[in-house]
Subunit: 329 residues, 4 copies
Amino acid sequence: MIIIVNRKTTREQLDRLVTELEQKQFKTHLSKGENTTIIGLIGDTSVLDIDSIKAIDIVDDVRRVTEPYKKANRKFHEDDTVVDVNGVKIGGGNFAVIAGPCSVESKEQMREITKAIQKSGANFLRGGAYKPRTSPYAFQGLQEEGIELLLGCKEEFGIPIVSEIMDVSDIPFFENVDVIQVGARNMQNFRLLKELGKLRQPILLKRGLANTIEEWLMSAEYIMAGGNENIILCERGIRTFETYTRNTFDISAIPVLKRLTHLPVIADPSHAAGMAWLVEPLAKAAVAAGADGVMIEVHNDPAHALSDGMQSLTPEMFDSVIGQIKKYL
Amino acid sequence: MIIIVNRKTTREQLDRLVTELEQKQFKTHLSKGENTTIIGLIGDTSVLDIDSIKAIDIVDDVRRVTEPYKKANRKFHEDDTVVDVNGVKIGGGNFAVIAGPCSVESKEQMREITKAIQKSGANFLRGGAYKPRTSPYAFQGLQEEGIELLLGCKEEFGIPIVSEIMDVSDIPFFENVDVIQVGARNMQNFRLLKELGKLRQPILLKRGLANTIEEWLMSAEYIMAGGNENIILCERGIRTFETYTRNTFDISAIPVLKRLTHLPVIADPSHAAGMAWLVEPLAKAAVAAGADGVMIEVHNDPAHALSDGMQSLTPEMFDSVIGQIKKYL
Amino acid sequence: MIIIVNRKTTREQLDRLVTELEQKQFKTHLSKGENTTIIGLIGDTSVLDIDSIKAIDIVDDVRRVTEPYKKANRKFHEDDTVVDVNGVKIGGGNFAVIAGPCSVESKEQMREITKAIQKSGANFLRGGAYKPRTSPYAFQGLQEEGIELLLGCKEEFGIPIVSEIMDVSDIPFFENVDVIQVGARNMQNFRLLKELGKLRQPILLKRGLANTIEEWLMSAEYIMAGGNENIILCERGIRTFETYTRNTFDISAIPVLKRLTHLPVIADPSHAAGMAWLVEPLAKAAVAAGADGVMIEVHNDPAHALSDGMQSLTPEMFDSVIGQIKKYL
Amino acid sequence: MIIIVNRKTTREQLDRLVTELEQKQFKTHLSKGENTTIIGLIGDTSVLDIDSIKAIDIVDDVRRVTEPYKKANRKFHEDDTVVDVNGVKIGGGNFAVIAGPCSVESKEQMREITKAIQKSGANFLRGGAYKPRTSPYAFQGLQEEGIELLLGCKEEFGIPIVSEIMDVSDIPFFENVDVIQVGARNMQNFRLLKELGKLRQPILLKRGLANTIEEWLMSAEYIMAGGNENIILCERGIRTFETYTRNTFDISAIPVLKRLTHLPVIADPSHAAGMAWLVEPLAKAAVAAGADGVMIEVHNDPAHALSDGMQSLTPEMFDSVIGQIKKYL
């Protein structure tokens, strides 16, 4: 950590600060320039509150030079993490295709979609039972009943399932859900992350709409610090000034994450795009950029979907997208 | 609601769509131009899922022309809502000064700060007991013990208290907290919002870092739809490309909200600024723009605060800021 | 165009507005709902100033339903535009590989790089002679001398050249430059765009850092309105809150543009990434998403480049990237 | 400047880098931690290209610790700059009120508006003669004729005039324009900035839509480096994800600039807001935050303005705003 000291600081003030830092078991190195004095702080600075140091009157600025995440950091864990979901693997060269409707709606719908996506090559079924909706007046999901319908497909078709959790109190309903998804709006729901750290199921952690890559890795760190190191990161677009697309798919995040962390990284082109015709080029781009998997919304009747119809593919479109992607693997 | 139909649509396709919409009890009006046909939809469109309509093959675009929020909408509730907290009022000309430390740390700290801020004119004490922290390794707040310390000050000094809730399961600890704060990261924690809708305590709802004014009002609507209409909105800065300030304080949000909604609107210049010396000009600007109150971080020893030291004012600085603000009221 | 009228508008006010609009040769359609009245405006609304209509007291909002660009619009020109640069084609299935240093520095440097990139398969040489630099104290480019060095390579190696123009007054120096580049900071330098519309050389128009896709197409429209329809659009990243990458490469812009316009679209992964190791995955992603070409910075000695060294590839790295890309074409 | 070295760097590599830096006349200080080695670079680093250093293979990151601007930096020029326009002063306690129409349209319009704003207390007349318009089909301004009409008002009413320049080649027409405005889209038109540095007229430099405060000050530095130190900075809103307002008025920029630079800082609430009713609260907020002036669009007939009608005030509204502002001065 680098502490930039105000140039009007006296020798006594500087000595006092250095002494105080050394009492906290840090080593310090001073660099004095004409206009600036810099203190280099050596030791485990991840426990330091950067703002408290900035609040010291003689401090102009403070900057970290090492990443604040440890367990998620590739520097300390060079090999790819491979998440194993009842034998289906993600990461380290294993590609995941997760597909299914935005919302679980009925048994017939789920059976029809599961059959179709499995035939096209999907190895995970996704479906929303608890739905985060901007409006209190919109369909909020089938909830427990939705989880039951997913479990029915899991049993009938032997496909592992992925579903989103919205609150700590719902954890009991997710006991047999294979992969628990944390949605973009809950990426910094730290209480939820802590509780998920106590489970052993893999967590699919989506990026928040306005969260940096570093904050995202810190949220993974929350879960890992609790003991659950089975995390799959999922890029789904960030919020920018561009309004043509629902979100701006941050393709760079994929190779950047592959460099910074050992965790698998997948892409959700459906939410990033917000429009069905954009899913194919974005899915192909994600694979080309090194993604370990894709998550795609598929609905048997998009125009009558209870949510997100606009961005859902029909089974036929999905089959064609998967055919395209295979050329890139 | 306006539905823009693809120009290659046939007469039959168009008729089928119109019939389907009319069966849902909407009236329709057609406008046909050279390159575009538009369907105007008349009725309560707040229940319609905009994406499902966009998913219809002949639809190019869909746009709402009325706001999707009702209870929060000034159009249907012209008078200012005045939130009454045990006799201390906010809104409708009543100005709130909420002050206190980012984190509750100790009894001595809380007593000292409460005395100081009350003397300077604060009419609410704030303090964080449950702290949302980006890092799992950072101080997470005194939790239940912190709430106890706040309640002690409430009793001793007769000042209403404000504290942040992070999870539904903590609601029991907030029974005697006068105003329950929902932080930026939880603005779209819809499950929490729903539960808060069942309470009768006023809710201080902060704006999410990357949420639009409309989404913010929809989150207020969530709480109001549950029956709790005592909501105070709090602007605290949004995330933009500018990195000099911690966040970009969206000063325009204050007059915009005063126009769109009847709810009181306050400002948190401390979090927006991230630097103590910026709090005074931003607080003054917020008042000039029409805010119904300010929430300011005050700490007796900012350089040793356990969180957010950098942006905290000393009691002396706070006293000076309040002196400045009074000139603008 | 849709005009949303305030619900307190009287019958007389509405009639007056409708009459005024019809006098401007527009046809109008009225849709009256409970809370809103909408006027649909039919005719060529691209000449209307949207803000003047919004300024009318009874108008709540105005929205365009057709794109404001015409010549660039694929709706009115379905086939791909193929830009022909002395026989080297871009668009319509023809892939361009543009490579070279950020800044032209010397004859030796340019000869060495040109030989290398041409061997690897580049079909255009790029090099900056006029450099837009944030700091007045930074190297500003070799200017006329730089253009001379580029022309020397063009002659010796028979490769068409691309270079950036910064000001109308420099047009004479670009007489023999094959493709004239407009940089991100000049995307809305409308006077420059107008002058370029009078030339016949193809224009490579980069997206502005904070410009929407629609604004970008309007800038292309500026050039096309002047008579020069040989435009190549180049995505190079936009400015967002994420700071790990220099810019956020908007991969979606590529398929979106391919749908909205008939003009060729290429990608500049070097500027988007800002880091050499990111160029390969982003270039591959751009190709997978449908780009008609890539523009990549190559330098024989990146650590001693006079600008943008960090994001430049060595000739060896470039050769490897091109090898990777070819698999995707 | 701080250079963060990769932890796998050998002793020899490190020595070579240090030697190279010292040959460039910098002093270096080494701080070695367990995971990181940092080189502190002491000397005038403003001439160093940060990207070339980042391109060195053993370098992980490079960070400036001193501002890259000098002439604009308050550290080296503590007193406020007071810009004197024929006796009318801005800065150092002198408040400027600049008003007038977006576009100069006719002699009658200009005379009527000038009389009105002068009566309300404006001390500068603004009017656009050269108009940067997103669409090539929109009104582009009266150009030379517009400047003539402004000069007519200057002579008749004795009021200094402000008008926007779009291109180097128009400089001759601005000979008698008192203050030359550089618009947001030209903030990084470096060639124009250089030419304006050779003039002696004050330059009103607007912030770019997506430019940081530091980049803005670097653009001021461009003009100052040429010898013209009479610069007025004008905050006019930045581009963010929020779409309710045309731009997000960055109120914090005002106090931040007052701290970083000695140049006067004014606000343009009309462009930031994009809606007439928002101008008053934003103008008041700007004054409360410490602005040295405001620039406000006033039109005698906003609904028939040839540009920006929506955000223009009538003379009556303007008179009321000025009355409000005076209370805050």
